[in-house]
């Protein structure tokens, strides 16, 4: 995967013009702004194409943010909009606060603050009336040389304090209106450097404040969120060991010879390991892939006094002398995750090039030799693991995967007698209607689930909240527990009711629980819910993707009839509720359907 830093603007433009995106889905971006920021377009296009989508970027009118939010132009913001980027620079929104602060008395300052705050609320209301799309609102820039100079910070009523108050207000309103995110452009500015961030000539010539470096960094920040929105955030980190987790080679230098400890360079490796542990606690699966004798590696992990990464953080290891691409493929299949969910880190260019060549969907990071102090930033700056929410399931994810490996081992012991195996799991299934607290998890499931997903519709938290509130829809979810642990919420279904039919808009199951029959319980529940409302028909459809062929016959297997016009890409099914449903699997220890 080429990196945006490798291209000049001209080369980037060339790449974009020649990219083949005819088979990709559209990613519709709207930019509302009070500055000229068209310069960001090639960077957004490039990142959209890298993400696997066809870019469609539309700019609102110059300094027309509120009008565009309230206006009637359906071509701008509509149901197809994926995301809205908002740039409201204070220099244009409130020139008094930005440029002539020392002339203002407290009454005028209050007036200006209210003006800005009302602008924010009205704009958010206007946008939300039209769409639940992701809103990325860029922060108000803090002056580097504030109005009152070095003493500006001594009172919260001076310039910096005032602008911070506006930023805090913006953040709280973004939370309130849901699915809104604060892009801290001040941080982007500190990464690029103040003197490389602004193009003062073009601010005067055409109200275009930012340099190429600046818009590149801003685009990168926005894309950390867009990737999470589209479920492209990474879920698993696969790490080499020698010269990655510690300095040196354990097989040659021995436990006392490797560099890991309070002195440089060992301290840099400890810091890098801490970053990995932090990712573990964010729900990222940690795996090792190292060419070593296995006991040597475990010797370090168990016995080295300065190991920060411990056995319990690690879900799976492939420590052998085999090809790393094969090992990573095995890791992906054991964990039942896509190769595109994996980040692979190694200090050896041979390995990183190999994996890049053979497994291009894996994102590889090469650690440059001798620069261990830079490793932590290389990992954190990527934002590859950034997600839109942090749920309970995320917190416990690594435990789930360890349980999963234990389950697979047990499965092997039953040698194919699946019913006995399932019975031995002592499974407890709970089905219930969605409540507020589970909304983030359900939204996450719709965004990430690819295989057992009948229609692959991606929803945000506000979408799910809307379904949940509606009297003509039900969202039910399935929670599964077995003797190895509680797996949390692992499936959901969204049903829309009309007088004549109940339509299953969404029906999905986490890949970890495929094949256990939980889907049967969920489907039966959907049918029961329709029966209760005296609805005669339940309808479902299968929308083909290149990942969900396993559910092509799901409805047919469950006694639904398929409709005659069989289009390969979309097939419709129906079930008359007057018929009886076949019973749920008998090997569950307990089935609790709380919504009937």
């Amino acid at each position: 995967m080429s990196h945006i830093n490798n291209y000049t603007l001209a080369e980037l433009q060339n790449y974009i013009d020649n990219a083949n995106v005819s088979n990709s889905r559209d990613f519709n971006t709207v930019i509302l702004r009070n500055i000229t920021v068209e310069g960001i377009t090639p960077y957004l296009r490039y990142l959209t194409i890298q993400m696997g989508f066809r870019p469609n970027i539309v700019f609102g009118g110059y300094d027309n943010v509120l009008q565009d939010a309230l206006g009637a132009d359906e071509n701008l913001i509509n149901q197809n909009t994926d995301c809205i980027m908002v740039f409201t620079r204070l220099e244009t929104l409130s020139p008094k606060l930005a440029n002539s602060f020392t002339q203002l008395d407290s009454e005028i300052i209050e007036q200006e603050k209210d003006l800005v705050k009302n602008y924010i609320v009205s704009t958010l209301k206007g946008i939300r009336n039209k769409t639940n799309a992701l809103i990325n609102w860029h922060a108000f820039e803090l002056p580097v040389y504030p109005a009152f100079g070095v003493m500006d910070h001594t009172s919260s009523n001076m310039q910096v304090g005032t602008i911070c108050e506006l930023n805090d207000f913006l953040k709280s309103k973004l939370r309130e209106f849901k699915n809104g995110f604060f892009i801290d452009i001040n941080v982007s500015r500190s990464v690029v450097g103040y003197y490389k961030f602004y193009d003062t000539r073009y601010w005067h010539i055409g109200k275009a404040p930012y340099t190429l470096e600046a818009v590149k960094e801003i685009a990168n920040e926005n894309f950390k969120l867009f990737r999470a929105l589209k479920g492209k955030n990474k879920k698993c980190l696969v790490l080499d060991c020698d010269n990655t987790l510690w300095g040196g080679i354990i097989g040659e230098d021995g436990l006392n010879g490797i560099k890991l400890g309070p002195n440089y360079p060992g301290s840099a490796f400890m810091e890098f390991q801490q970053e990995i542990v932090s990712l573990y606690h964010r729900g990222i699966i940690i795996a090792l892939c190292s060419k070593n004798n296995e006991p040597d590696v475990w010797d370090v992990i168990e016995n080295h006094p300065h190991m920060v990464l411990k056995r319990n953080h690690i879900s799976i290891t492939k420590i052998n002398w085999e090809d790393k691409a094969i090992n990573i493929k095995q890791i992906a299949s054991t964990l039942n995750i896509g190769l595109d969910s994996i980040v692979f880190i190694d200090d050896n260019e041979f390995e990183t090039h190999l994996v890049e060549e053979i497994l291009p969907e894996v994102t590889t990071i090469h650690l440059p030799k001798g620069k261990s102090a830079d490793y932590k930033d290389l990992l954190t700056s990527s934002g590859l693991f950034d997600n839109l929410a942090f749920t309970n399931e995320d917190k416990k994810r690594s435990e789930f995967y360890k349980d999963e490996i234990t389950r697979k081992q047990l499965e092997n012991e039953f040698g194919g007698d699946m019913e006995s195996y399932y019975k031995s799991l002592n499974m407890i299934a709970n089905i219930d209607r969605a409540s507020n607290i589970v909304i983030p998890r359900i939204a996450q499931l719709t965004q990430k689930t690819n295989q057992f997903n009948l229609t692959t519709k991606r929803y945000t938290e506000s979408d799910i909240a809307a379904f949940s509130k509606s009297k003509n829809s039900d969202i039910i979810y399935a929670e599964l527990e077995d003797r190895f642990g509680n797996m949390g919420i692992v499936g959901c279904s969204i049903v829309n009711y009309s007088k004549d039919s109940a339509e299953i808009d969404t029906f999905l199951l986490s890949c970890r629980v495929i094949g256990r029959g939980l889907e049967k319980i969920m489907l039966n529940t959907c049918i029961e819910l329709a029966k209760i409302r005296n609805i005669p028909i339940v309808k479902g459809s299968y929308l083909k993707t290149n990942k969900n062929s396993l559910v092509k016959d799901f409805y047919t297997k469950n006694d639904f009839r398929s409709e005659l016009n069989e289009d390969e890409q979309e097939v419709n099914f129906s079930f008359e509720t007057i018929n009886n449903v076949s019973s749920s699997p008998m090997y569950f220890k307990e089935i609790n359907i709380k919504c009937l």
């Binding site: 603007l9 001209a10 080369e11 433009q13 060339n14 310069g39 010539i205 190429l212």
Partner: protein, 96 residues
């Protein structure tokens, strides 16, 4: 001071070569930014005859040239750089 004729011609050849390279580099950048084949970028090409050379693309052009040639144009230069020929001369002037 006596300059050997061979030295003069070598220097001349080198200068002509450098100028050619610069010209080709500029033409390539303009072709990429304006999304036009290089053959359409002529000496007197200007915003008047190339449709895609609007004010936005002029800015992109200026920034792309600065990035590729590692230069910085001042305000006056930016607003005057309105044909291939003028841009080339401006770049040459700054590199000396």
């Amino acid at each position: 001071m006596f300059l050997h004729p061979q030295c003069i011609s070598k220097k001349l050849i080198l200068n002509v070569y450098k100028s050619k390279v610069m010209e080709e580099k500029l033409r390539k950048i303009m072709s990429q930014i304006l999304n036009l084949p290089e053959s359409q970028i002529k000496s007197d090409s200007s915003p008047d005859d190339l449709l895609s050379w609007d004010s936005l693309n002029h800015m992109n052009l200026v920034l792309a040239i600065e990035q590729s040639f590692d230069l910085r144009f001042d305000d006056e230069e930016i607003v005057q750089m309105l044909s291939f020929e003028i841009i080339l001369e401006t770049i040459k002037g700054k590199i000396k």
